[in-house]
């Protein structure tokens, strides 16, 4: 099996800069508590230039670089970021395995789709660069070979042929073994992995035992550790606890960006697009607020989702400060991408999403809808409200040149005789009726109006099986000074009701 390894040098520092772009080029460290002392876990490039080294105490580091900023190092967060990056890579590889804290193995069996293993490495690095990470990629046949070459090699992309592990590993320094195994070899005066591999296996086993033999095998390119693919989580959820409770929107915005970036990377890797999301704000000390977000068009673009979330959250008034945040994708569907026509710009969709989100926040979700016809004869129930999800299509620049496509809207014939305005609840008509039952006049819009003409009846009846059956005789009535009105006589009480206007 061919395996690739992606190594991101100082992954936590890279991640920090992606989250807070203002930190780029500035000296900062991530510190952790080791035996009640705060020590540097990872340092940025400019901090390293100032002489700061991992393992140093924070006091010593600050003394070297007075403008040094420091942030807590959370191994769990790093692992989550690494996982989301791995899931984003699922568009080029069928499986990945985490190698905490700063690397990933991936299955290189799909290399033929990218023009060979080198092409696969390039593509994987491009995907990572799309998420802001820089790294090195190596493809080899063993886990150890690929990992060590990526970590200690110098080339951004390297492909080790089958059986060529020992040769590729030979020039690497002994410290690449990264463990207590290298000490006995160092004591013997050996400097490279090639020198270790040249030792006779029997002698190494006799003097170094099982551990020594294992290190020797690794150096000869004989690693037999199996590749264990990471299990994908079914639920697409990302959460984060803030360093301190946020009382304004500003700190929340950074957390939101991080979470949505990760979530969208995971969605993109699975070729899915979010349809419905929910934001959960954990308040300090108690309480939580849940905010749903439904998209008119499914999307996996972090920037758009961040814009929408900003609209939802920026005008929120909360009683307590926010201590934590989680975002969950409640519903997702296949991401078919966006097919733009010649001359189309993707900004139109973003504008639609933003305005819908703004309206939904202010007016409430239930105020926005698109109608869908129902096969029901009772006129006021002939349609239902649905979420507004317009079909994505545009004629774009070629619009005028393409042949006009006839738009066929299958509509029932009866609907052509329906008024454009309809009352949800029919209103009783203040009518003057002759003894014979004829409608003579009605009191409408503040005036007594005579009936000028009348057409009908059209009888609608049904639902005899339900508790409230109906039977109505509909007429189109021209009242004086008005267009046609849709009036019916209800068989239950024989009264006239106004239901609509042919406006």
């Amino acid at each position: 099996m061919r395996l690739g390894y992606l190594h991101f040098s100082r992954f936590p520092a890279q991640r920090r800069v992606i989250e807070v772009p203002a930190l780029a080029g500035k000296p900062f460290v991530l510190e952790e508590e080791v035996r009640s002392a705060r020590r540097v876990a990872c340092a940025s490039t400019s901090a390293l230039k100032a002489g700061v080294r991992p393992g140093m105490t924070l006091t010593a580091a600050s003394a070297l670089e007075p403008s040094l900023q420091h942030f807590p190092y959370k191994a769990e967060d790093e692992l989550r970021a690494l996982t989301s990056l791995g899931e984003a890579l699922m568009c080029v590889t069928p499986a990945f395995q985490r190698s905490a804290p700063d690397g990933l193995w991936f299955d290189a069996s799909a290399a033929h789709l990218f023009g060979g293993e080198e092409g696969l490495c390039q593509r994987a690095l491009e995907v990572c660069a799309g998420h802001g990470y820089r790294g090195r990629a190596v493809v080899a046949s063993e886990l150890f070979t690929s990992r060590v070459l990526a970590r200690h090699g110098t080339r951004p992309v390297q492909v080790v042929p089958e059986g060529g592990g020992a040769r590729a590993l030979a020039p690497l320094p002994l410290s690449a073994l990264e463990g207590p195994e290298c000490e006995p070899f160092a004591a013997l005066g050996l400097g490279t992995l090639g020198e270790v591999a040249a030792l006779p296996a029997g002698a190494v086993a006799a003097r170094g035992g099982a551990a020594g033999l294992r290190a020797h095998t690794l150096c000869r390119g004989g690693d037999d550790t199996p590749f264990v693919a990471a299990v994908l989580e079914e639920v697409l959820e990302e959460r984060m606890t803030l360093d301190w409770p946020a009382e304004s929107f500003e700190p929340l915005q950074f957390a939101l960006k991080t979470l949505l970036d990760r979530l969208c990377a995971r969605l993109a890797g699975r070729r899915r697009a979010a349809v419905r999301l929910s934001f959960m704000l954990k308040l300090d000390p108690t309480g939580q607020v849940e905010l749903p977000l439904t998209l008119a068009r499914p999307s996996a673009r972090a920037k758009l989702l961040l814009d929408l979330a900003r609209h939802q959250l920026s005008e929120l008034r909360l009683e307590n400060p926010v201590a934590g945040l989680s975002v969950r994708v409640e519903e997702h569907n296949e991401d078919r991408g966006q097919q733009l026509a010649l001359g189309d710009t993707p900004e139109g969709d973003a504008a639609l999403e933003v305005v819908l989100s703004r309206l939904a926040t202010t007016l409430g979700e239930e105020s926005l809808f698109s109608a869908s016809l129902e096969a029901v004869h009772r006129p006021e129930q002939a349609y239902v409200a649905r979420a507004f999800r317009p079909p994505p299509s545009s004629r774009g620049m070629a619009g005028e040149l393409l042949p006009q496509e006839p738009v066929e809207v299958p509509v029932e014939e009866a609907l052509r005789e329906r008024p454009s305005r309809l009352l949800e609840q029919p209103a009783t008509l203040d009518a003057e009726v002759a003894d014979s039952g004829e409608l003579l006049a009605a009191w409408l819009l503040g005036k007594r109006r005579r009936v000028m003409a009348m057409a009908g009846p059209e009888r609608l009846s049904g639902e005899w099986w339900a508790p409230e059956p109906y039977s109505r005789d509909y007429y189109r009535v021209h009242f004086e000074g008005m267009g046609p009105a849709w009036v019916f006589r209800d068989a239950r009480d024989g009264r006239f009701y106004l239901q609509g206007l042919f406006d």
């Binding site: 819908l356 409430g364 869908s372 004629r395 052509r416 454009s420 305005r421 009908g456 021209h478």
Partner: protein, 292 residues
Amino acid sequence: MSATAEQRSGAVVEQLRERIRQLQAAPRSYLATLRTGVEEVDALLPSGGFPLGQAVELCGDAASGRTSLALRAVAAAHRERRLCAWVDGPKELYPPAAAAMGVELSRLLIVRPQQPAQLAWTAVQLARSGAFACVVLDLTQGLAAGASGGKSSGLRLSLAEGKKLADAAFRGGSLLLLLSSPTAPADGVTRIRTESLGPEGLAVEVVRSRQGGLGTRAVLEWSSLYPALGPEGEEAPLLAGEAPSNEELVPDFYRGRSWERRNACGILGQRPGRDAAMPSFRSRLGTGTAPR
């Protein structure tokens, strides 16, 4: 691949390139007007239809054809696969009728704000976004108030709101149609007055316009807006004797239950427990022994 096949695919690619070049070189013609499809009305408007990027007011009494004209403009936008929005103040738009006029319901966003004060704000947001080719703002008060005898006046926009709406339509490049009543006119750049002339038809008149056509008037029949209704003139108004009597109106299920009329007999008229047993369905259902 043989040499001929290569040549052929090369020629196809060259043809496609040429086609793309043509498409890119052609000046992009934007959708500039929305035609109602009613020739008389389109002829009244200086640009041959409702111009995009402007606020046009359709002002008229109840049942004077405002809504159907607006729906026809929406249908014209839908034919170009553009989105439209309807800010429905009185909550009376009837989508099935809209669908019958050619409106594609999946592309029509209907917004029904709870507060009347939110109507103008909503329309401004929708028009300014540029995502909708046509935004209709219905400012009329609605039938519910009118039917009960109250005076239907509708919502009156302030001067500032009117300016904001016009500005939003201009910025977003969308057509903003304001449906209003004569007692509470809105501040549209172009105002078209619709008036019902009774069963004969309706009149449409341009009463305010900066692009000419002021004072032009057209009279059209109701059947031009609602083709299925047919010309009303041919349909004689019902007289007293022709209207169905009250007795005829009552459907069967109100008059009496069927089993009561059959006097509690079975569906074949047999009396329960006295006549012969019900015929067996077993052989028909296929569970009985089939004849060999």
